[in-house]
């Protein structure tokens, strides 16, 4: 059992929670994740650690409400408890001075890119950040990203804020005019694929952080397997950060769709159950 000590609604569908989890916070490193199970009936979902404070013993998670579990999690409030909060899991990113690092965050991927930018900035890297979302109401943490970046670019697909277009077009421009030592991209799979295709052309080392479906998150089931180069890797123990140029994105895109029908059914079932409870309360 862990306690939610702070909740922030970043956008209507994206929420932030600060969790009281001293053991997880003590060993957490940028790039790692936690497995969250809301209650006894809950599934085990992986969420990247967006920030942590080892001294206060807190871990920050950010999630977009896309399925039953994340919707239900989003309904919890400060003071509420979460049944399981396991971590920190996965491997951390290599923390050293690479030189000039470009951090690309797309959508809810801005959350996991932040601790990486923060950790690398501390080690003396020059950080250029590019964050983007579909529209302005899905953007968050511009201020935080600003605080750990030497330069920050913001894009929206629809032009409702910042530059209209995709993060890749800004990245292309930065590549044209500056020397880059490392690109780190976190966001929707399609975005990470496009970033990797672009940086491959210029042979720029690129890391991506994957977020496939998981069950245990400790290497026990192989649900999160992904082809990297010619090898089969388990994201939970071998990743979640991999060489962006070696990941088989198309395979992973298909694997992400494995339970679409069930996910839809779970949401419908949940909304119906809540509606029924609502009727009871009204009576």
């Amino acid at each position: 059992m862990v306690k939610i000590i702070k909740k922030e609604v970043l956008t209507p569908q994206i929420k932030l929670m600060v969790i009281d989890a001293p053991r997880v916070a003590r060993h957490a490193k940028a790039g790692q994740f936690v497995i969250v199970r809301i209650n006894e009936e809950g599934e085990r979902i992986p969420l990247t650690i967006a920030d942590f404070d080892s001294e206060k013993g807190t871990v920050t998670i950010i999630f977009q409400e896309v399925g039953k579990s994340t919707i239900q999690l989003g309904e919890l409030n400060e003071g509420d408890h979460i049944t399981d909060f396991v971590g920190p899991l996965g491997k951390e990113i290599e923390e050293k001075n690479f030189g000039h690092v470009v951090c690309v965050g797309g959508g809810v991927g801005i959350a996991p890119i932040y601790p990486k930018a923060k950790a690398l900035k501390k080690l003396g890297n020059r950080i250029t950040s590019i964050i983007g979302a579909r529209s302005s109401d899905l953007l968050f943490w511009e201020d935080r990203m600003q605080s750990v970046s030497d330069a920050l670019y913001v894009t929206t697909d629809d032009g409702s804020y910042g530059e209209k277009g995709f993060v890749t077009s800004v990245l292309d421009r930065v590549i044209q005019k500056e020397k880059i030592d490392l690109v780190i991209a976190v966001g929707p799979l399609m975005m990470m694929k496009m970033v990797s295709l672009l940086t491959k052309k210029y042979e720029l080392p690129t890391l991506v952080s994957l977020n496939p479906i998981m069950v245990d998150g400790t290497g026990m089931c192989g649900c999160c397997r992904v082809t990297v180069g010619k090898e089969c890797k388990f994201t939970c123990v071998d990743g979640p950060v991999f060489d962006g140029h070696s990941v088989d994105y198309d395979e992973l895109l298909a694997r992400q769709r494995n339970y679409l029908e069930e996910e839809k059914r779970a949401v419908e079932n949940w909304l119906m159950k809540k509606a029924e409870e609502g009727v009871h309360h009204a009576k």
């Binding site: 290497g219 089969c232 395979e251 298909a254 494995n258 069930e262 079932n269």
Partner: protein, 465 residues
């Protein structure tokens, strides 16, 4: 008295196929009291019992059977529990036919004593009556950390507690029991029984910390700083092997670990009441011939599959599964496709599996395991259509904890090198046992290892101070 005996040995009453294949309730029903006592009377009470040599936890088999024959049920239970803290589990999942029962003198001419059925009867009887606690010594204040709450860890924890040590079990998952919870299905080992056995171990004063991944949440150094003086690693063989064949990451292909974990631990068979889904198509193929393969196939059937087959590269004779389990699987309509080995997985444009391309095999000379080596028959490829595939070809050691302990010596296969008698590893004070030492084996051998390690830990702690 109903006549359901075979050469004197009782048959295990079990639910009919029609009744059992659409739910997850337990299949064998257990012996009735009169049948158990009758069977106990059949024991010859050998002066030099050979059955005990087959028991990895050294249960006094003629001792408990003799008490049962006299109707002294409570005493019979205590006799088992002197050596085995988890009899309800062993009575169900031990391969007695290869252990105690295989050595029973009666088996030479007729049928051996049904030791497993009797053990199960006694454990179940006790559970229904309420369990008495053994006399506990006063705690000596020495802290022992047990990593992993599977059969090895639970046994080691229970025994260390009985020796007066202060024991904490650290479990990575949200439920205790290890493979007993995530691996073995409800219909073979009801989870209420596992929970009760875990509660028993807790009632001995053992603390249980769930959702703690040692090596990640807590490091070994953290545990040392917390005052733990001895350690037992029983983390199991939890890393599923895949075949490394083309198409293996298509949707619809599961490791047995994932397939069983979804159903057993996460209760996917009760989706959407429980949040974790699972996918079972009309036709399911399970690759492998061990108990895990049988469990997967029978789970698939209960999840609604119309046709379930097992694909195995040797013949039924070489299958490592218990004969009883193979029989039950076949009774339930599971088809064994033998002398057949997958060469690649076939999928559709949406990257969903549609079948397994296989090649026929024939048996050649025996290999290092003594089983005849299967050899492919050139040109015999054919496709088995399948909507769901479960790969049940074995597991390897989970690297999570081992990676964080570089000084811990491993063997060539990546398992922990531990002394066979004591479980001692290359690090003083650190013991290991179960599948993380031997590779995938039985519940009872893991318990045996936990037991031996507890004794060694006790010696170590006594000599240390």
């Amino acid at each position: 008295m109903p006549n359901n005996r075979l050469n004197g040995r009782p048959k295990m009453p079990q639910r009919t196929v029609q009744e059992r294949i659409r739910d997850f309730d337990e299949v064998p029903l257990g012996l009735e009291k009169w049948a158990a006592i009758e069977e106990a009377k059949r024991c010859l009470q050998c002066k030099k019992p050979s059955c005990m040599k087959g028991c990895p936890v050294e249960i006094d088999i003629p001792g408990f059977i003799g008490l049962l024959a006299q109707g002294k049920i409570d005493e019979a239970v205590m006799k088992i529990k002197e050596k085995n803290s988890l009899p309800a589990i062993c009575g169900r999942v031990c391969p007695q036919e290869e252990q105690c029962e295989s050595l029973c003198v009666l088996g030479k001419k007729g049928q051996p004593i049904a030791v497993g059925y009797l053990e199960r009867f006694l454990a179940d009887y006790e559970r229904e009556q309420g369990i008495d606690l053994p006399k506990m010594p006063t705690q000596n204040g020495k802290k022992v950390a047990i990593i992993g709450s599977g059969p090895a860890g639970l046994t080691c924890a229970g025994d260390c507690a009985k020796m007066g040590h202060k024991v904490t079990i650290f479990e990575a998952l949200h439920s205790a029991g290890g493979v007993l919870i995530y691996g073995i299905p409800e219909f073979r080992l009801p989870k209420a029984i596992v929970a009760q056995e875990v509660d028993y171990v807790k009632s001995l004063g053992v603390e249980l910390e769930l959702s703690v991944v040692v090596g990640k949440t807590l490091t070994f150094d953290d545990l040392l700083q917390d005052g733990f003086e001895a350690f037992f690693i029983g983390t199991g063989a939890g890393l599923p092997h895949f075949m490394n064949l083309p198409g293996e990451n298509l949707n619809g292909i599961y490791s047995a670990n994932e397939f069983l974990t979804r159903s057993n631990l996460m209760k996917a068979f009760r989706f959407p009441e429980y949040d974790t889904p699972t996918k079972v198509g009309r036709r399911v193929s399970v690759i492998g011939g061990g108990n895990v393969a049988m469990d997967s196939a029978r789970t698939a059937l209960r999840l609604g599959a119309e046709e379930v087959c097992l694909v195995y590269r040797r013949t039924k004779k070489e299958m490592p599964a218990r004969i009883e389990e193979i029989e039950r699987a076949e009774e339930e309509g599971i088809n064994c496709i033998i002398l057949t080995n997958p060469v690649r997985f076939v999928g559709n444009e949406n990257k969903w599996v549609t079948g397994i391309e296989c090649i026929q095999m024939e048996l050649g000379e025996p290999d290092e395991s003594g089983r005849r080596r299967p050899i492919p028959v050139p040109g015999s490829e054919f496709v088995i259509p399948a909507d769901t595939v479960v790969v049940a070809i074995g597991q390897g050691p989970n690297p999570l904890l081992l990676e964080t302990l570089p000084e811990l010596k491993l063997n060539k296969r990546g398992y922990i090198e531990a002394d066979e008698v004591t479980g001692a590893t290359s690090i003083p004070g650190v013991y290991a046992g179960g599948d993380i030492v031997t590779g995938a084996a039985t519940v009872i051998s893991a318990m045996g290892a936990g037991k031996k390690a507890a004794r060694a830990i006790d010696d170590y702690l006594k000599n240390k101070s």
